[in-house]
């Protein structure tokens, strides 16, 4: 805590307290029990702001993963027979517990992931929203029927049925929310589940699963297995697992999609992104700049919805860029438990190295550095993995930095003549996750949303994060599968339609 005394006033600048300094070695939650992994492979969990260890995570074995699958499989039928309203009640109980522990969940996320406390609170809210939506399962899961639908005196019904065991393989950037895009819907609709958190950020789910236990889900219905590719591969190969949900990079998403499909599973695999934010000549500059700062630098650029390419159309380029660079200089970096911080570090030393490598590459390709975050240092957190806001101007569509996902606070600036050229550029990308336009013209906005081949479109919105009752979409190499996470898509992914034709003699 830094104390400041100014005249007669006594005030201090506070850093919020950490939930724990050291979380020790975490366990798996299988069949309603907390189980110590027997694996000899244990990995340190780092606080990216300090580079210090805050706990240890086991790389669970194939056998331990199979035990979790068996537990989920054994629990499935009685859970499937549990009435939807009873299953929904557990969701309400979990929601209440998540609300009670809201602040701790957010602070643990800051500790292990590096995001700011506001970002972590926002993520916790979105986590809870998914539980709230899943609690509506009695309505969400209703089937449909038609009297005399098959023939005179013969009725036809479509019943929505759960399938069995599902699993999620989760990334590091949203430790609380991403598992909740999937499992509340799966479990509420009568399936059982296994969550494998990222080995870089397992603490948040570890804490949340204590609440899952307290909420009273029956043993085996929801399970947590920590680890790496041994766990993931076992989940993708095991015949009892009916489907896999994945979020991560495109090469791994492709691997998960292929391997899981080969093993006869349903798959929804969310990959990488290279999102463009297009500024039209009539954009409201001040408001757009402010909004874009959150898109480019929020979560240190480690969102799959983060802005990456800044596409300036026509004569807006110079005035817009001037303000954008100035505002970017005002971004305050630091440990996310300081509430005044706008941007935390990237998640690891390797991540920092990769981001810095891309900045170097951009310079090598001929881009001009308007703002260089490579040597950013935060007083008191000198070992942290901070990369400052970085702006590369004069980027052209053929450059690597314009095409590849950097996953850091790096803005690549491209200039285009008109909207057609901007949309063509977006379409030249192998990704199709998100794109935004900043304009006051309804015509341009309509054309952009109609023509742009991306799953998430923003109109004067830089982070197109679908709410829990909408699907988190994605096209091209940003998504492999057909049904997305969240909302009705999730219900469809985790269930099948059973048709019943009935005649009474």
């Amino acid at each position: 805590m830094i104390r400041r005394h100014s005249g007669r006033r006594t005030d201090t600048m506070a850093i919020l307290s950490e939930v724990k300094k050291d979380y020790g070695k975490i366990k798996n939650f299988v069949n309603g029990e907390w189980i110590d992994s027997t694996s000899s492979k244990v990995v340190d969990i780092e606080n990216p702001s300090t580079a210090g260890s805050i706990g240890k995570v086991p790389m669970s074995t194939v056998e331990e993963t199979k035990a979790a699958i068996d537990a989920a499989h054994d629990a499935w039928w009685s859970w499937r027979e549990t009435p939807p309203i009873t299953r929904a009640r557990l969701m309400f109980r979990l929601k209440e517990l998540l609300e009670q522990h809201f602040e701790n969940i957010a602070r643990i996320m800051v500790q292990e992931q590096g995001k700011t406390i506001d970002e972590a609170r926002g993520e916790t809210r979105r986590t809870i929203e998914n539980v709230e939506v899943a609690a509506g399962i009695p309505s969400l899961m209703m089937g449909y029927n038609l009297e005399d639908g098959a023939a005179e005196g013969i009725d036809e019904d479509a019943v929505i049925s759960p399938l069995g065991v599902f699993a999620a393989i989760c990334p590091f950037n949203f430790p609380a929310m991403i598992p909740f895009w999937f499992w509340p819907y799966a479990v509420a609709s009568g399936n059982t589940y296994i969550v494998k958190p990222s080995k870089q950020v397992p603490l948040t789910q570890n804490y949340i699963f204590k609440l899952v236990e307290e909420a009273g889900f029956p043993p085996g219905v929801v399970n947590l297995v920590n680890g790496s590719h041994e766990v993931a591969d076992t989940l993708m190969e095991h015949p009892h697992v009916k489907g896999i949900s994945f979020v991560g990079s495109t090469p791994v998403a492709k691997y998960v999609y292929k391997k899981s499909a080969e093993n006869g599973k349903r798959v929804q695999a969310q990959g990488g992104a290279k999102n463009s934010l297009v500024v039209m000549p009539d954009a409201v500059i001040d408001r757009s700049v402010r909004n874009m700062l959150a898109s480019f630098y929020g979560c240190a650029g480690q969102r799959c919805l983060a802005g990456s390419n800044l596409v300036l159309v026509g004569d807006v380029a110079e005035p817009f860029l001037k303000k954008f660079v100035e505002a970017s200089k005002g971004i305050k970096m630091g440990y996310g438990l300081d509430e005044s911080v706008n941007m935390g570090p990237v998640v690891s030393g390797d991540a920092k190295k990769k981001v810095v490598g891309y900045i170097d590459k951009g310079v090598e390709e001929g881009a001009k550095l308007l703002l260089d975050g490579r040597n950013a240092k935060v007083p008191g957190y000198e070992k942290g993995y901070f990369v400052g806001p970085t702006i590369l101007d004069g980027v052209t569509p053929d450059m690597v930095v314009a095409k590849e996902e950097i996953f850091g606070p790096v803005v690549t600036v491209l200039r285009m003549k008109n909207l057609d050229e901007a949309i063509d550029f977006i379409h030249s990308s192998r990704f199709g996750n998100a794109a935004s336009i900043y304009t006051q013209s309804g015509k341009w906005a309509r054309e952009f949303r109609y023509r742009t081949q991306c799953g998430n479109i923003g109109i004067n919105v830089g982070i197109v994060a679908a709410m829990a009752y909408f699907p988190f979409a994605g096209y091209k190499d940003s998504f492999f599968g057909d049904l997305h996470g969240q909302g009705q898509d999730a219900i469809k992914f985790f269930t099948d339609r059973k048709v019943v034709i009935t005649r009474w003699f």
Partner: protein, 149 residues
Amino acid sequence: MVVCEFPECTTFGAVIRFALELEKGSVAVYEELANEPKYAGGAETFKALAAAHKKRGDLLEHTRREKLNEMILEPIQDLKREDYLIDTKVPAGADLKAAARFAGKIEETSSRFYLDSSKVAKMLLAEAARIMERLGKENQANKAKLESL
């Protein structure tokens, strides 16, 4: 004397935290005044104002928890922390009038903070802006009550 922890107002969360610290400071000052026998003539008013500021704190906590989402996490660069710091040390030897004036100054600073924050919040979140505006106006009404002591 209460120690307030005022952050730089560079994020939505920090603005709410700043507001919570203002409320904490206000509650502490009013409770101190309400419990001091020499201010017995204003005790009821001070007690009521302490309770009102506590309630405002709950409203702010609720706003932070319920209203924050990713789409509004824009950096804030228009509010200067130093413009809204308050003094919570009741001057020694102050009579009731002077003590009320001292508390009125806190209300005045708080009002300015909320009304300025409301303008910033309007760009992010209409509901938060409405709450801030309401709190700022309440501060003005509180100040008027204190002036009548």
